[in-house]
């Protein structure tokens, strides 16, 4: 094969609301090559029967406005245009969308929790959520995915000037669920966005968090934690598009894998466009492979089109538990299983501290605990 000189940014240039603008993926495309298409249950080629159900339940902070709207609501799709076929399929197929608005200058007094509960993986369902944080407002949001479903959706986070949005997205599906999701954050001037993704359950989860900036001063922190068991395919595809000057982004994803055919995929694309001087970005992915037969694919891509960056870096490492760590703990009398548990906890500890909602932190902690006990 010859040298590929095509800039990476063209990968993400195609965007459309129309499914027909995207060819049915074959698995040979760069953006689909890691995903087992046969397990998507037709989400990618239009053969999925749309009779499935995902019930959306919102428990909102009192300061926050929640609406369920139809497809024709003019606010939808403003912050994000689908960039692949499943995303476009979801956009053209959802019936009702959930719109969460945090009014200008308002600080929400408690987290708003959106629970998405699937009622079966027999048929597909599509969804759409728009979270609009108006200027100088602040809120925390939890997306809690449970049950069983074949589900594709788009989530728009529109964070206006000086506003702050913190999101925790839990993919805690049943074993047979299939979920393809796009989370896009559009950040205004001096806006702050914190995303914490936790993916534990599901047969196949492909989550694509992305960030764009409309004005300088935007600050995005994207954190992820995943635990992949035998047979699971958990894929996270990040894209941060620095197109304006003086914005910041930090991506940290860590995962543990155990069991036969446990498969993790992490793609970290960061583009620093020519006009994005003063960008400060770092992305990191670490995978801890606990058993034979598990596999992690980790691909960081950093494309820098300006010489004037404040900082730009990436790191990716996948490896086994460090024998020296285990030896040290065992040499102090700690049995192997407990030593292993301590080291894996340690691997995730720094991330877990970042979850600000105590109940969620506890839930993630006990979920990791349960995974280790398997």
């Amino acid at each position: 094969m010859g040298l590929e000189t095509k800039p990476l940014s063209t990968l993400h240039e195609k965007s459309s609301y129309d499914v027909a603008d995207f060819a049915v993926p074959t698995g040979r495309e760069e953006e689909w090559r890691f995903t087992p298409l046969s397990r998507l249950k037709g989400l990618h080629n239009g053969t999925a029967a749309v009779t499935g159900g995902v019930v959306v339940d919102v428990e909102a902070a009192p300061e926050v406005r929640v609406e369920t709207v139809g497809r024709d609501d003019a606010r939808l799709g403003k912050a994000y245009t689908p960039a692949d076929r499943v995303s476009a399929q979801a956009y053209s197929s959802f019936e009702k969308a959930t719109v969460v608005t945090v009014p200008k200058l308002t600080a929400a007094s408690r987290p708003t929790v959106i629970t998405l509960r699937g009622s079966g993986a027999g048929a597909a369902a599509y969804g759409h959520i728009l979270v609009s944080v108006e200027p100088m407002a602040e809120a925390m949001l939890v997306l809690d995915h449970r049950g069983s479903a074949v589900y594709a959706d788009n989530v728009e986070f529109d964070v206006a000037e000086g506003a702050t949005l913190k999101v925790v997205s839990l993919q805690d599906w049943d074993d047979d669920a299939v979920h393809v999701s796009h989370h896009h954050a559009r950040l205004g001037k001096d806006a702050t966005f914190r995303s914490f993704v936790v993916t534990l359950g599901g047969d196949l989860v492909r989550l694509s968090p992305s960030v764009s900036y409309t004005a300088p001063g935007g600050d995005a922190d994207l954190t992820g934690l995943y635990f992949v068991d035998a047979g699971q395919h958990l894929e996270h595809r990040l894209l941060v598009d620095h197109s304006v000057p003086n914005c910041r982004s930090n991506v940290t994803y860590k995962g543990a894998l155990q069991g036969d055919a446990a498969h993790a995929v992490w793609i970290g694309d960061v583009i620093i466009r020519a006009e994005a001087e003063g960008t400060d970005t770092y992305e990191l992915n670490r995978n801890l492979i606990l058993t034979d037969g598990a596999r992690a694919d980790s691909v960081p891509n950093l494309e820098i089109l300006t010489g004037e960056v404040a900082g730009a870096g990436h790191a990716s490492a996948s490896g086994r538990l460090d024998d020296e760590h285990i030896f040290y703990l065992q040499a102090r009398g700690i049995p192997f299983d407990e030593a292993r548990r301590l080291v894996i906890h340690g691997f995730f500890a720094q991330l877990l501290e970042k979850i600000e909602v105590p109940e969620i932190r506890e839930r993630v902690l006990s979920a990791v605990e349960a995974e280790l006990a398997r």
Binding site: D322, D323, E324, H325, F327, Y328, L329, Q330, A331, R332, G333, I334, P335, F336, E338, A339, L342, V343, H345, G346, F347, F348, A349, Q350
Partner: protein
């Protein structure tokens, strides 16, 4: 009263034989110094006895109070009463000193210490070694200086109260103040009860603070000379040259 008995121990790393027949007996109440040049196999002895997977025991035996240590896993050896203070303690990311020590104490004593008592015990242990109490919340050995790591090893020694302690070059990389603090810790441990100490060192410096009862000179993977504290003085003056040439020609 405890006894560590090492008999005709042969140890290899991969295909390379490092220890070539080591005999050594350490009883509680005794302090043995093992001295020798770099590469003589001193650390191999320490790690092999503790059960590090890199080292293969090809023949010989190691008994602690008659129990075969070589049949035990690393953690079983520690719970049986063996302790290894490491020359290069590893950093364990995300595991706090406090959490680590509590897990170790729970494992060795067979029951979890009450939180309040543990906090008290930890604090007095840290005070005695002039360790900043803030270290309890730091990740184990992460970002510790050489001296801080060694103090932390001795803190574990004092908390876990083993029957036999193997101290692998605990003195290396310490300045005089840290050496004194660490030596005081070792001496407190020695005075605390029926405990034996196997002190591995390259230099005689630490022996001014921790007085050995026996000195063994190690070269070429075995003990080549044994004696009392006076042997250390001889090494101080003459160095290891006599032994290294002897080992090379053996």
């Amino acid at each position: 009263m405890s006894t560590l008995e090492i008999r005709d121990l042969h140890v290899a790393v991969g295909d390379k034989e490092i220890l070539r027949g080591v005999d050594l007996t350490v009883r509680s109440g005794e302090t043995h110094a093992i001295m020798g040049p770099n590469g003589s196999g001193k650390s191999t002895l320490a790690y092999a006895v503790a059960g590090h997977p890199k080292y293969t025991v090809t023949s010989g035996s190691v008994l602690l109070d008659g129990e075969d240590l070589l049949e035990m896993s690393v953690d079983e050896r520690a719970r049986a009463g063996l302790f290894l203070a490491m020359q290069y303690p590893v950093e364990v990311p995300g595991v706090s000193v406090s959490n680590f020590l509590r897990s170790a104490i729970t494992a060795v004593r067979g029951e979890a210490p009450k939180l309040r008592e543990f906090a008290k015990e930890l604090k007095s242990g840290m005070d005695a070694l002039s360790i900043d109490p803030a270290f309890a919340q730091r990740n184990t050995n992460e970002g510790f200086s050489g001296g801080e790591k060694k103090r932390h090893e001795i803190l574990q020694l004092e908390l876990l109260k083993p029957k036999i302690a193997v101290l692998d070059e605990t003195d290396s990389g310490l300045d005089v103040d840290a050496l004194r603090v660490v030596s005081e810790g070792i001496n407190r441990f020695r005075a605390s009860g029926d405990t034996g100490v196997l002190l591995i060192t390259h230099y005689t410096r630490i022996l001014r603070y921790v007085k050995p009862d026996f000195v063994h000179v190690f070269a070429g993977g075995r003990v080549v000379e044994e004696g009392g504290p006076e042997l250390a003085d001889k090494l101080e003056n003459e160095g290891y040259e006599a032994y290294t040439s002897k080992a090379a020609s053996a």
